[in-house]
Amino acid sequence: MDRKVSRNIAHIVPSLLLFVALALPFLLLILQWLTSSNKMTLFSFFNGPNLQLIGKSLLISIIAAMLSTFIGSICGFLLYKFKFPFSGFYKLMLLLPLLISPYIFAVAWKDGFFWLFGNAATVYSEAGVIMVHTFVFFPFAMLITGSALSQIHSGYEEAGLMIGSFRRMVISIIFPLIRPAITISFLLILIFSLSDFSVPAFFGVRTFTTEIFTQFSALYNFSLALGQSVLLLVICFLLLLAEARYLSDAPFFSVSVKGSISKKYDTGKRKILVHSILWALLIIVLLIPVFILIVQSLSGRAFFFSQALEFMFPAILQSIKLAFAGALLTTAVGLWTASEKERRGRKFPNFLLLLTFIVPSTVMGIALIRYYNLPALHFIYGTSLILLIAYLGKFGFITSRIIGNGIKQIPVSFEEAASVMGIPSNKIFLKISLPLMIPSLFTAFVLAFILCLGELGATMMVYPPGMELMPIKTFTISANAPEALTSSMTLVNLGVTVVLIMLFFIAGKWIFNKFQYA
């Protein structure tokens, strides 16, 4: 009986902690919004023009999400289903657009268009927003469909090949099998695109998110801005609810522990075609913007790289430290929420992370400030702990999903076999489950690290006074600095991230070789 009580406490206490630390700030903010404004103005945003604007924003994001899912799935298919030289190189390089902030992409592309065609008017449009979002977000689709593809058991494909041609097999076997993955990446990118304001704002396209931003920043109309945010939240929530209801078993950046089950094909005569497609994509989504940045950084009156490095140096160390801690925390919490969901059937903690995942950054910042800015809680709000909470809110859902998929791949019988032998459950976790989860824990950690390293929206709102962080500094310095310095700083930022990714990649190779069990 005692055991049962203690087990329940072990579940309830962390759940409660997560709820109090993360979800309560938002609920209180919404409550405040509902009670403070009078009933007339409360839903004043619920009118024709606003709904039309939502429709337009949705349309833009749906197109961007469809395009990036399409491109990403093709990349995933080429990179994860075929063997050819340098596929690892492509996989790595095509991930890099994720690391450049959409805003910088937008600026680089605008300048690129101006240089190429002498006129940038075409990108100042819905089409420009769709283009930039497509280029920035397609790597998500590549990762998600790629991991789904590498989990298809070779037997299914071989059985299909006995009956029909390769093309028929792809259409009638592979495609239906990865359809959940495609749907997930579509929804995820849709949400990312919907909640980004920097690109439409820069291109002068009015969307629902820029509207919220204007209410917050030009008119300081909190009540209306919050109301609109809640509406956005509800839309994202409904989209994810569809995901949770129908697709909860779909793969999501999962790392295969049984690396050899999937079948890989030779490119054969189509080698050149595959390489050309990948190179074309590489040039468009990565090399052109980076090239523009390099040209800009060199075209100043002075050489700014050393100055950029000098500006960035203290921020780099602090950022890495914080991103490391953030990744550690989100991975640890993700591990816990994922085990609760996958092994104990308790979905509540995971659900909390999903809720905070879809909250717009500015709203998250305001909610956290209102909640944590109390003298007694100054050890949180005045220190980097507040940033860790923001990171957890923003990325906990992603780590939880990656680890959850890792756990799903470990047969329950592995744990049961040990439990029948009388191995205590903490030992089973340490000696059996944890070692088998290492590849997915590692992936979750790396992704969380990169995301924390680049997080700007919420960080901007809550970072402790006096702290220097890489994205903040690039952003605030670049405001009125010469273009060459701005571009140099962006490149330093990108360079640091790439070096870290390389290190992770090397560490990852070692870890995967050591802990991947055929």
Binding site: F414, A417, A418, S419, V420, M421, G422, F515, Y517, A518
Partner: protein, 238 residues
């Protein structure tokens, strides 16, 4: 005296009923084979005896003590002195053969671990594989490791969930002979789930033929062969 007693066991997965009012006694030191078409609830019976699941209704007794009843587990799996061989074998992929077998002994801080492990490896003639990992073994070798792992803690009950599927009859015969010898030495009670009635006929002292959540017929080999049940006849003739 019966080793294991099931009294009015019912069990559900969600809304689906998998076992309906099952009562049965398993005699000590004997082998009972559970046979029946797939999905009829054989594996569930093993898991309820092992304590990996709690029965929705009814009582499970081991050595006369109630170990589970009506949705509650009274005795945890590892206090039931049970060895369990899973259908997928559940060999831990990150442990060597030696570590797979020795893990339980180490946890129990037993002495002479090495001697105990090699005694079993010798018995199954796989002592040269001690340092290899599960994925480096053949199907038959894996099965022998799984059996060795479950026997090393000297269980009083051995539960086998179709671990011998997909290997050739010769090898299967060999493994079963080894098992029979060990059982005679150690005297454990064995429950063997299989859907192969030939296998059941050779190893089982008792038979329990199941059909969709209930026991169709049970008894000694002779009794089963002479059964008048239409289901049993058709099942045995396939």
């Amino acid at each position: 005296m019966p080793k294991i007693i099931l009294e009015h066991i019912t069990h559900h997965y969600g809304k689906k009923e998998v076992l309906r009012d099952i009562s049965f006694s398993f005699e000590e030191g004997l082998t009972t084979c559970l046979i029946g078409p797939s999905g009829c609830g054989k594996t569930t019976i093993l898991r309820l005896i092992a304590g990996l699941e709690k029965p929705s209704g009814g009582v499970v007794k081991i050595n006369g003590t109630i170990v589970s009843e009506n949705g509650v587990i009274r005795v945890l799996p590892h206090h039931r002195k049970i060895g369990f061989i899973f259908q997928d074998l559940a060999l831990w992929p990150h442990f060597t053969v030696y570590d797979n077998i020795a893990f339980g002994l180490k946890e129990k801080r037993e002495r002479n671990i090495k001697a105990k492990v090699f005694e079993l490896l010798d018995l199954f003639e796989i002592n040269d594989k001690a340092r290899e990992y599960p994925h480096q073994l053949s199907g038959g070798q894996k099965q022998m490791v799984a059996i060795a792992r479950s026997l090393v803690l000297q269980p009083e009950i051995l539960l086998m969930d179709e671990p011998l599927a997909n290997i050739d009859t010769h090898l299967k015969g060999n493994i079963l002979r080894h098992l029979k010898n060990i059982q005679q030495q150690q005297g454990f009670t064995m429950l063997h789930v299989t859907h192969d009635h030939h296998e059941a006929m050779t190893t089982g002292d008792y038979m329990l033929i199941m059909n969709i959540g209930k026991i169709e017929v049970s008894g000694s080999k002779e009794e089963i062969e002479n059964s008048s049940s239409q289901f049993v006849k058709s099942f045995l003739n396939t």
